[in-house]
Amino acid sequence: MKKFLQIALGIVTSVGGFLEIGSVTTAAQAGASFGYKLLWAILIGTICLIFLVEMSGRFSAVSKHTIVDAMRERFGFPFFSIVLFGMVLVAFMVLVAELGGIGLSLQILTGIGFPWWAIPVSFVVWLLMWKGTFGLIENGVSLLGLVTICFVVAAVKLHPDWHHAARGLLPALEGDQKAKYGFVAVSILGASISPYLMYFYSSGAIEDEWDVSYIPINRVIAFFGMSFGGVLSMAVLVTSALALQPNGIDIDKFDQAALLMTTALPRWGFYLFAVSMLIACLGAALEISLAISYFFAQGFGWNWSESLTPSKDARFCLTYTIIILLAAVPLLLHIDPIKVTMISMALTAATLPLAIIPFLFLMNDPIYLGEHRNGWISNSVVGIVILISFVLAVISIPLQIIGG
């Protein structure tokens, strides 16, 4: 019974914690600009994420190591420091975007511009980290995040042509706007396959003291949780294709995305969107701040645990304090969070090999995993998706820059 409850909670929190400003913005932009044509990017991103999350949980449950800890041990500090620099830089940009997402949600609800919210929002995130436990962050915010299911309700209420939508699940080339199509596809992949989620999940498995008996539970949570999360992203894309595209709206600003559900859910759509984004971005901001701190603490061998009091892991707490403070600065300078989101998602995709290839080596290492190491299916699926993301990023990012 206890394990059944853990599975249910794990799935529920995965659903609630899946959406954030990156996945919503990229899916909404894809739907508004290309209709259903980019559903395939969400599909392959979700499949890859299912495999990666399952691997992260399995790795920690079997080896009793976090990914970061093992990466430093296995590859040495010089290589680890390169990964650290790349991952922290990208995760920091995503954190700026998430804090900005909370600010933008409050902006559309109150009319007060997002830069004014930068400090209060950062303070609340910091306070939750300082006072909260891992359980509170993992379950509390993610349970509230279940409100994002409203995107599925909105998509269904707009009566999409399911046959037409299903065709979007097959990758196809776009005739016009090839660079933009590639860039949005890369951004969707970057938003779906977030390496910080792996570090967070792997550290969570250690925080929750998983062992080998958790492997089946981990598999169920990874599959159902991430699949439902992928469905939420697809629902955003479908809603956008049906509500925004017919009006010729191409999302440049958050104010435009806020109209997403006003057609399907006239009474509550606007408020549900704002609240969903607020909660989703808050959850993501907490997870990313934790992931960055885990990265530093595990990499440098400091004490770490979100469930310890700050006096027992001072350097861990100091790291997220500094990171959150720094992330507020670009917002105070009026840098548009939507632009930061799009750039950071594309950069995430471009840097995926840096995060994933060493992880694949670890997942095939018998010293850490023994008989539980990866099979060829896991290696192939993840390898192919990472290759596609990287090639698309290398081609489309320069084209998008040149195209202005």
């Binding site: 559309i108 609800l109 109150t110 009319g111 925004l244 009006n247 010729g248 709206i249 191409d250 440049d252 600003k253 104010d255 435009q256 806020a258 109209l259 006003t262 006239p266 009474r267 759509g269 606007f270 320069p398 820059i401 040149i402 195209g403 202005g404």
Partner: protein, 135 residues
Amino acid sequence: MRTKRLLVLSLILAAGCKPPTPAEQMDSILSWIGTAGMAGDAWLRHTTPDTYTRQTLELSSETLGQISKDLLESPPAMVDTAALHRVLTETSKRITRMAALISAKDAPDFARQLDSLRTDQKTVKALADSIEAKQ
């Protein structure tokens, strides 16, 4: 050495950045007119708050004005520039007026302006199609 190469590559990319084409600018203009129309329609149905709708209309008008200015500085060939200028200016002013009507809570006049905005949208769409066809 590698850093130098990266710097040179970045400079080449930056130098290669070109402004958007007239067709892309017209798409952006249509997107903002669509935004104003959808936000206005939502306000009339009491589904969005006054502050958000007013700010979105002001943002639409401001962005539309900026893109129109850039577009008309080097107008696309074979297009009636005077007609383009007239419709874009009128549309931008209309959206500003709609934002003001929200403060006055004048729904009937707002609805009339929204109807006119739909007409403007069709005119701009026709001009955008002709620009795209000539590119």
